[in-house]
């Protein structure tokens, strides 16, 4: 009993006598804003826009100003960094949330909300943070025809940025997989090479749990979606009215075209997720006509050249692109690796950087708040030892909502 009181007393002491902010704020009735100045040798404010010896001033978790280092007020708290300062990276697709998101009892779980599977205490978030990723999108029911509402979350601090970022739909064979009969029964079926699974393995239709869930076919999937959007109840009505973007998972090129056709038919906006061959001329044209973005990757070592060239082709056509991460199964560093590989395959540094930040923010539905360093935006900052598109550069520190999140410990 005594020890409990003792602990409570220590806590009270810490509460009362905690360190006040360094610097010389004077007490007043209105609390002074929490100011932090970050000065860096190079500040990447947006894709293709750099400040040499720049300064970002943060006030209460938001960016107050971005400008030359000469504006630094040495009396206020500040950090000086001999490297590159950028906005935090954004992963538009992720497997974080794991089994908590796998509600695959039904093909349509339209009211499921990924935010309720957000468990910020998971170590994977800290790992993503350490890789420079400050915002992630979680997708509910990834193998469902209609998975539910995605959410955008911060990797530090447990904040849900956009609780209903988009409606997750899946038009890929993965959504049909649980119910597909092994093609071995039937002659002439699925015997052509080239069909590739998201993990790069050859397509197979042999599944367990067959015949437990509809739809089993692309035609069934499309028919069900037409019906759901046609009735227009709940999230479907909101998506049709343009209030809620969609993320349509589709891998093979024919799946992507099916998704873009459907989006056009139903008047949906948002992005396609998957599309390893998004750079195919017909796929690019279809995405552009439908006004959809695309979330690709992560690009591993075995990614084909045609995949890697997608970013260059899409950005040339003005289609917004973002990357997914394979974390936690893979390292979250795969996000930056994807950009570097696309860069090596002909993408411009600007396009690669947009895919990691501003385009990703747009596709995650938080384009106004994140993705660039500009006054009014949330202060998610990464301090790099060098050029972040160069994989030899490492993350030195990460700030989320103006507070240092990595490495752990107070500023």
């Amino acid at each position: 009993m005594n020890s409990v009181w003792f602990a409570a007393g220590a806590l009270a002491l810490a509460w009362n006598g905690g360190p006040s902010g360094s610097g010389g704020e004077t007490p007043s009735a209105v609390p002074a804003p929490q100011i932090l100045q970050v000065r860096a040798r190079e500040v990447w404010t947006a894709a293709g826009a750099k400040l040499t010896d720049g300064l970002v001033v943060i006030a209460d978790g938001k960016i107050r100003s971005v400008g030359p280092a000469s504006a630094l007020d040495p009396k206020l708290p500040h950090v000086e960094h001999d490297g590159v300062l950028t906005a935090g990276l954004i992963a538009c697709g992720s497997q974080l949330g794991g089994w908590s998101l796998q509600e695959d009892t039904r093909a349509v779980t339209s009211e499921a909300r990924a935010r309720l599977a957000f468990e910020p205490e998971q170590r994977a978030y800290a790992e993503a943070l350490a890789a420079g990723i400050t915002t992630l999108v979680l997708t509910p029911g990834p193998d469902n025809l209609v998975g539910g509402l995605t959410c955008a979350v911060k990797t530090h601090g447990g904040r849900v940025l956009a609780p209903e970022a988009s409606l997750a739909l899946n038009l890929s064979s993965r959504a049909l997989g649980r119910s597909t009969v092994s093609s071995g029964f039937f002659f002439g079926a699925a015997d052509e090479p080239g069909a590739v699974q998201p993990d790069g393995s050859a397509e197979t239709t042999a599944r367990t749990g067959r015949g437990t869930r509809e739809p089993t076919s692309y035609s069934g999937a499309v028919t069900m979606l037409r019906e759901l959007f046609g009735r227009g109840q709940g999230v479907f009505g909101r998506a049709r009215k343009g209030e809620l973007p969609v993320v349509l998972e589709a891998w093979d090129r024919h799946e992507v075209l099916r998704a873009t056709d459907l989006a056009r038919e139903l008047g949906l906006r948002g992005a396609v997720r998957g599309a390893p061959l998004a750079g195919d001329e017909h796929v690019v044209a279809a995405l552009k006509t439908a006004g959809l973005g695309v979330i690709v990757g992560p690009y591993g070592a075995d990614q084909t050249r045609a995949s890697l060239e997608s970013l260059a082709r899409l950005s040339a056509a003005g289609v917004p692109v973002a990357f997914a991460t394979g974390a936690p199964a893979a390292t979250p560093h795969d996000l930056r690796l994807s950009a570097a590989r696309a860069l090596a395959a002909g993408a411009t540094p600007e396009a690669a950087w947009r895919a990691l930040t501003s385009d990703a923010a747009r596709l995650a539905g938080v384009g106004d708040a994140l993705g660039e360093l500009a006054a009014g935006r949330e202060a998610d900052l990464v301090l790099w030892s060098g050029n972040p598109l160069d994989l030899t550069a490492r993350v030195v520190a990460v700030y989320v909502d103006g507070a240092r999140a990595f490495p752990a410990g107070t500023h």
Binding site: S173, L176, S179, T180, V181, S183, F185, F186, G188, A189, A190, E192, G194, T205, G209, R210, G211, T212, R213, E214, P215, T216, S217, Y218, S219, G220, A221, V222, T223, E227, D252, R253, H254, L257, R258, D261, L277, D280, E281, H282, A286, A306
Partner: protein, 398 residues
């Protein structure tokens, strides 16, 4: 794949001027008799003239219309057919196709310019088939010739394959259902039409839609195409036609239809013959699913006056393509004219696209096949293909 695409694009660029004059020793318009020393003029993707007179941008021995295959079997496998119901009447295979598949290109280069794609035969009624061009940009917009061309079904053992009776176990999937037998297949088909006539379940929108589709089949507005391989399946399909008075029925893969000439003629059904096989044996009742189609099958149907088309079933082997089937049928006694019609105008008519394709007539799509010799002869081959006036196989490089 990209290099292939690049090549394809380059080919299109060469043929950017889509106006052609093709001179041939013989032109087979199909809609009328052959024209010796003739030319076909192509303008803006359409046939502008078919006439006598020599000299042209392209030259070859013979020109025929592009072929039409009503059983092309290019699909995305089991994902082309909805398995949660045996009567997936509302489904459209157009929503399930992979137009990027290299198999379309293969068909196109062999001379098949139009194809009917159907769902895989795993349901009693599997939904609508669609008629497409086999080339051009891989989008439905570009390739669609006729949506909802036929309602596809299957009579026989294939829809029951994979289903189980719940006997002796707890049903753990929707495959514990009827049909598990040929009888069951027919039952499900008849039940669907009967309920459509009664308007049963029409309070439910999906069922109402299904019933409306089936009533269109009953009124003849929609063509019913049933796979029926074995003799008994042919009979069953034809009995269904007679019982419900289904005006327009096509039997697909009707390998043993020749065994039932009387009922076939009486029913007025049309037939799509599967490819002729090198192997096969007479069905004597002991091997129910091994069928036999003699080489003279097409000739017999022709003599009976039964409208029929030949098909390749997506055959890939040497001698298994659609053009080869015409040669096999001729070896069985079919006339050249009937064989040519069986891969062009007849299937185009059966699929309801004869206004656009199937013969060389002014105003029709410029889908042409160029030959280095008399068509369907063993020593002849396809050396050029035009699709909508675009040269997709260049005879000058062959």
């Amino acid at each position: 794949m990209l290099s292939f695409l690049a090549g394809f694009v380059a080919a299109l660029c060469v043929a950017q001027d889509n106006d052609w004059t093709i001179a041939a020793e013989v032109i087979y318009p199909v809609s009328k008799g052959p024209i010796e020393n003739g030319v076909v003029r192509v303008e803006n993707g359409k046939i502008a003239a078919v006439s006598k007179g020599g000299g042209g941008k392209l030259e070859c021995y013979a020109v025929t219309p592009g072929f039409v295959d009503l059983s092309v079997q290019i699909d995305t496998g089991p994902t082309s057919v909805e398995q949660s119901s045996e009567t997936a009447v509302r489904m459209r295979v157009a929503d399930a196709l992979d137009l990027f598949s290299f198999r379309w290109e293969r068909e196109l280069r062999s001379g098949v310019t139009t194809a009917l794609a159907n769902p895989l035969d795993m349901d009693v009624l599997g939904g609508f088939g669609v008629v497409l061009k086999t080339g051009g940009a891989p989008t439905l917009e570009r390739r669609l010739l006729r949506a909802d061309a036929v309602l596809r079904g299957a009579i026989g053992t294939q829809p029951s394959s994979g289903n189980s009776s719940p006997r002796g176990g707890e049903p753990s999937s929707f495959y514990y259902r009827r049909p598990t037998t040929r009888m069951g297949v027919e039952w499900v088909a008849r039940d669907a039409f009967y309920r459509a006539l009664q308007g049963e379940g029409s309070a439910e929108p999906a069922r109402a839609e299904e019933n409306a589709i089936l009533r269109k089949v009953l009124s003849g507005e929609t063509v019913l195409m049933l796979q029926a391989k074995a003799t008994q399946d042919v009979r069953t399909a034809l009995y269904l036609k007679e019982e419900f008075g289904i005006p327009r029925l096509i039997l697909d893969h009707a390998i043993e239809c020749w065994r039932e000439p009387e009922i076939l003629v009486r029913s007025g059904a049309a037939v799509v013959l599967p490819p002729f096989q090198a192997t096969g044996r007479h069905v004597d009742g002991t091997v129910p699913d091994t069928y036999f189609q003699p080489l003279d099958t097409a000739k017999r149907l022709s003599d009976l006056g039964v409208p029929f088309a030949l098909s390749s079933n997506g055959g890939r082997e040497l001698g298994a393509r659609l053009a080869d089937q015409a040669g096999h049928a001729m070896r069985g006694g079919l006339s050249f004219e009937a064989a040519l019609a069986a891969v062009t105008l007849v299937p185009a008519t059966l699929a309801g696209v004869a206004e656009r394709v199937g013969s060389l007539e002014v105003g029709k799509d410029a889908d042409l096949v160029l030959w280095n010799g008399k068509p369907f002869e063993p020593t002849s081959r396809v050396i050029g293909v035009l699709l909508d006036g675009e040269l997709v196989l260049d005879p000058r490089t062959r």
